[in-house]
């Protein structure tokens, strides 16, 4: 683990007595490697190392009797800070219908997460409505209907012959007429470089003014996470992120990259395929996981 590697670096250095800038550089190299191996984006790592180095060559480390532990603490603290706060609530509209849009790349976990969110929102005393706006993927509508059935939440669908924008517009009237106060829209997976499909999301946003546009990201995403998040944020505007498949052994550095480039909170994390397997996001736990 990184803590062990840093302890080793500083063990060798302690015999020399004082700590030099060169020694800190050695330690920072270990931090850089650990973060890259955890899939944190290269440019984000560079910025992070610069900030940590600045603190590490300061008095708190140079004069410390346990410089190794000090550096580990600084790295952990800075990483936790980068992750933001725990802000795992849904921003419900103060009056009227709350509209939440789930967006992201193909296979990230949007449909499954829509079910989890619906389940949670219902438990919080609201009346959610799931909307099947993916008309492209074979049996996507059916998948959401099965998920809705399991969560005991109604699903609004108009088959696969209508445009997603029309479906979402129609779902709003349906929600109003049926006492549903939260509309949860499951959209088709898409590439951030697909202009037509990104424009479709833009049209959807203009039509129903979502309160939350949540980007669903697979926790095992590599360096590309930064491009995806940046693109979705610039072209559409993101209010929050949900990180999925954290029940695996991926370190999840994509979390840092996404947070760094969008400055949006990571609201929830997916920890399995079942409805209840979604938890609030804890920055300190994520920091520990990334540091290995």
């Amino acid at each position: 683990s990184l803590s062990e590697k840093l302890q080793n670096v500083f063990k060798k250095l302690r015999s020399k007595g004082k700590l030099s800038e060169k020694d800190v550089k050695k330690a920072m190299r270990e931090v850089k490697l650990a973060l890259l191996e955890a899939d944190v984006n290269f440019k984000v790592v560079k910025k992070f190392i610069n900030r940590v180095t600045e603190r590490a060559v300061g008095q708190e480390v140079m004069k410390s009797l346990t410089p190794g532990q000090q550096v580990v603490k600084i790295v952990r603290d800075e990483l936790t800070d980068l992750m933001g706060k725990t802000s795992s609530q849904i921003n419900y509209s103060p009056g009227g219908i709350t509209v939440i849009l789930l967006v992201g790349l193909q296979g990230a976990g949007k449909t499954t997460t829509a079910g989890k969110l619906a389940y949670r929102i219902k438990k919080e005393g609201h009346y959610p409505l799931l909307v099947a706006a993916d008309v492209y993927r074979p049996a996507a509508v059916k998948q959401l209907q099965v998920v809705g059935e399991r969560a005991d939440v109604p699903v609004f669908a108009m088959g696969e012959k209508n445009s997603p924008v029309d479906i979402v517009k129609a779902s709003m009237s349906f929600a109003k007429n049926n006492g549903r106060d939260v509309v949860l829209v499951d959209t088709a997976g898409r590439l951030h470089i697909d202009e037509t499909l990104m424009e479709e999301l833009h049209q959807m946003k203009k039509a129903v003014h979502p309160h939350e546009i949540l980007l669903v990201v697979d926790a095992m995403t590599g360096q590309d996470a930064v491009n995806v998040a940046d693109s979705f944020n610039k072209k559409l505007g993101i209010d929050g992120v949900i990180l999925t498949k954290l029940d695996g052994d991926t370190r999840g550095g994509a979390a840092i990259s996404v947070k760094a480039v969008t400055e949006c909170p990571i609201k929830f994390v997916g920890t399995g395929e079942k409805l209840e397997e979604m938890e609030p996001f804890y920055p300190d736990r994520m920091a520990s996981r990334i540091l290995g």
Binding site: Q106, G222, E273
Partner: protein, 276 residues
């Protein structure tokens, strides 16, 4: 790459950054850069413009050792495995279509009996590809579905059986055991003269975890080929270098879209080109 007047450390750093950003990973990047410096010394390369091409050739060489072709011997059984959402079911649709285009009779086995609407999704692909499908009701034993598919294939003179399995994380021990059981059914029940291919589907957007996926899936069901999907995005799939290095599994196919024809045979030259 910015233009350099001579081959200097700045040029090497830039190339390192390109590799890391392509998900090649730290260890493999260090290895490649060492080989690059060695090659440049050997070939007495002096023009900085040529350095990138030397690196490209090195990467191509590595990949050529481990690239393979779509299996072309019959009867053929293909078992498709991989983590959740990587593109297995869609890839099966594309594969079924490819074999139908070759005039082969294809049957798909709906071995994902767990996920919502997994069978319905596969059935739509089978219809599009003009392939038969064997399915049981939701929650049934995947091994039983695959057993039935193999028996039906033998009875109907099917050339290619493609088995879909549920997505699973390589660290889920009970699910990996389930996969081993399905594999045993295939090795026991496939015709004695059948070729068996275990195809691991990896998502090109995946980072370093792809290496753990390849290692553990190989350990469990002796993966014989890799399909790298979603290369039509901006992810480069550089992790495939470490994967082939460590596991020696040949990369056979790449997914470049969501349409039935968006499956291509792996081309090391094109891949190395796109990587840099």
């Amino acid at each position: 790459l910015t233009s350099h007047k001579k081959i200097d450390e700045g040029l090497f750093e830039e190339l390192e950054e390109v590799l890391i950003t392509a998900d090649v990973g730290v260890d493999t990047t260090i290895e490649l850069m060492d080989d690059l410096r060695e090659k440049i010394k050997q070939e007495k390369t002096s023009n900085p413009e040529d350095v990138k091409d030397v690196l490209k050739a090195l990467i191509q060489e590595k990949l050529k050792q481990y690239s393979g072709k779509l299996p072309d011997e019959y009867p053929l059984v293909i078992m498709v495995v991989g983590v959740n959402g990587s593109g297995k079911t869609t890839t099966i649709g594309k594969l079924a279509y490819k074999y139908r285009e070759k005039g082969k009779k294809v049957l798909v086995g709906a071995g994902d009996t767990f996920r919502a609407a997994a069978v319905e999704q596969l059935e739509i692909w089978a219809n599009r590809a003009d392939a038969g499908i064997i399915k049981h009701k939701a929650g049934s034993d995947p091994s039983a579905v695959i057993y039935d598919a193999l028996k039906a294939a033998a009875a109907r003179g099917i050339d290619v059986v493609i088995c879909d399995t549920a997505g699973r994380l390589q660290t889920q021990k009970n699910l990996m055991e389930e996969l081993k059981k399905i594999y045993r059914v295939i090795t026991n029940e496939a015709p004695k003269n059948a070729a068996v291919e275990v195809l691991l589907v990896l998502d090109a957007t995946t980072g370093q975890n792809a290496l753990s996926q390849a290692k553990l899936f190989k350990e469990a069901v002796d993966v014989s080929g890799i399909a790298l999907t979603k290369l039509d995005g901006t992810a480069k799939g550089g992790i495939i270098l470490a994967v082939t290095n460590h596991t020696h599994i040949p990369i056979k196919l790449i997914g470049v879209g969501e349409g039935i024809e968006d499956l291509q045979e792996f081309d090391p030259e094109a891949f190395a080109d796109a990587l840099l």
